[in-house]
């Protein structure tokens, strides 16, 4: 069976693997509805439950999972590349509503 990675929210620019994927293996990325939205080239090992970019992400761009910002790219990330602490930093969550521009 072809390995899968799922996009949890339609706004996400990353997907999460449902099993370990090795470099060169065929991979299908599916939307929340189950449609195949991408068959990326996988150039490195991506462990189970880890993330990969589903579009090219520029340095400084938001990483979006669950439809929300989970961090910021610290370097450019190619579509299909593994995403974790080596190329993403915390957006340093706002510690108050004022800082977040909400209150």
């Amino acid at each position: 069976m072809v390995k899968k990675a799922i996009q949890i929210d339609e706004k996400d620019n990353i997907a999460t693997t449902t099993s370990e994927v090795e470099a060169g293996e065929a991979l299908e990325v599916t939307s929340p509805d189950g449609a195949v939205i991408l068959r990326p080239k996988v150039a490195e090992l991506i462990p189970f439950g880890h993330k990969l970019a589903i579009k090219p992400i520029k340095k400084g761009e938001n990483i979006v999972k669950y439809g929300e910002i989970i961090g910021i790219a610290t370097q450019p990330v190619k579509a299909g590349a593994w995403v974790n602490t080596h190329n993403v930093g915390s957006a340093r969550m706002p510690t108050s509503g004022k800082e977040a521009g909400i209150l």
Binding site: G49, I70, A100
Partner: protein, 387 residues
């Protein structure tokens, strides 16, 4: 389908509750309940002081629409009296009686009276016929426990899809566990319906962080195991938990303190300022009125509840195989690629409706009656200005 109550709420079960406000009367309460069809006994284990948060939980349980009638059974010398509970229930118009062991003259005399009351109620309740009611009468509680890497990936997002659907149909959803919201304050606050609710979100999570800090726990810490498991930031970790409540706007934060116990006042998504400990958290949300519970678990769980059906969902296909006796729904089909997230969400929604219509969950069929009332640390609450 459900049972209309005098206060216009709708129960999806018809439990007869034998409520011991303190553990001193719990053994007699259990023996009495065991003799009557449909009766269930509950208590709390924090002593007989009249701690308002405990009284709120007990009264809330009795007021839950899944309870048809309530017998409050006390010992007699406790500070937390039977009337403190019964007085909270009476305005609802629900049948409520009290018995006190020291006044009745011991177990056997009390038991005879108790059994006569419960026997009558059991016969009356058997005559109730369920009626059709709209989804707007339904409140769902969502909880997660025994999480693993599949929780944030499959089970929680799928339950979130079901929650969104329930809310879009006019229903109400509650989720709690503020510890698991840490790092997502700004995200939850942005979903608040107004600035007051946004401020309440910050206050709830900040206070829970302060409670953890007082115990020497740094709540923003990410372990090496978290990162190896694929979680990059604390925001991502917490989002995996809060996604089980779906994505709809947050109507309010339900508080439970020395002077108040909030219940949802309109349909939609509500957060509860409660605990991260599973069974007490479920008990707390059911006390706020939830008639049905969805419980996600990566590693598997046996949890049920005294008065509310608990639907258990796992995103881990191996867990489902190993714990099929206990887990109601396999969301692990998302992982093997055989089913989409939205399709599993639809299946969970259907199961919520079927359960509300009377279908028994696995925990119900096994007779599991989990019930734990949680208690706040009074010293910590004093420092936070709550008492």
């Amino acid at each position: 389908m459900g049972y209309g109550r005098p206060d216009k709420s709708v129960g999806v079960r018809n439990h007869l509750l034998v409520l011991a406000p303190i553990d001193c009367s719990f053994e007699p309460a259990k023996k009495i309940a065991a003799q009557v069809d449909g009766a269930v006994a509950v208590t709390q284990y924090h002593g007989c002081g009249a701690d308002p948060v405990i009284v709120n939980n007990l009264v809330g349980t009795a007021l839950n629409p899944n309870v048809a009638a309530v017998l409050v059974l006390g010992l007699g010398c406790e500070t937390l009296t039977v009337d403190m509970v019964a007085d909270g229930v009476r305005p609802s118009g629900k049948p409520v009686e009290t018995l006190v062991l020291q006044q009745e003259g011991g177990t056997l005399k009390t038991q005879e009276k108790a059994l006569r009351i419960l026997q009558r109620w059991a016969q009356e309740v058997a005559e109730y016929r369920p009626e059709a009611f709209p989804v707007s009468k339904l409140t769902l509680a969502v909880e997660c426990g025994g999480s693993d890497a599949t929780s944030g990936l499959a089970a929680n997002p799928a339950v979130g899809v079901a929650c969104d659907k329930l809310i879009d149909e006019g229903g109400t959803v509650i989720f709690s566990e503020p510890q698991e919201m840490i790092g997502t304050q700004h995200i939850l606050a942005r979903r608040a319906v107004n600035k007051k609710v946004a401020a309440d979100v910050y206050r709830m999570i900040d206070e829970d962080e302060a409670r953890l800090k007082a115990r020497g726990v740094d709540s923003r810490w990410m372990s090496a195991g978290n990162i190896d498991g694929g979680l990059t930031t604390i925001e991502e970790k917490s989002l995996g938990a809060i996604r089980k409540g779906g994505t709809r706007p947050i109507q309010g934060v339900l508080q439970d303190n020395w002077d108040r116990f909030d219940r949802p006042t309109k349909s939609g998504l509500w957060l509860q300022d409660g605990t991260g400990w599973d069974v007490p958290s479920v008990t707390h949300m059911v006390a706020a009125g939830a008639q049905v519970v969805c419980f996600t678990s990566g590693q598997g769980s046996t949890t049920g509840h005294a008065i509310a059906p608990v639907i258990k969902i796992t995103g881990n296909p191996v867990t489902y195989q190993q714990m099929e006796d206990n887990m109601d729904i396999n969301a692990g089909t998302i992982l093997d690629g055989s089913e989409s997230l939205n399709s599993v969400g639809d299946r969970i929604y259907k199961s919520i409706i079927e359960t509300a219509n009377g279908k028994k969950t696995k925990a119900e069929a096994l007779g599991y009656r989990d019930y734990i009332v949680f208690c706040r640390n009074r010293a910590a609450e004093h420092l936070l200005g709550h008492c």
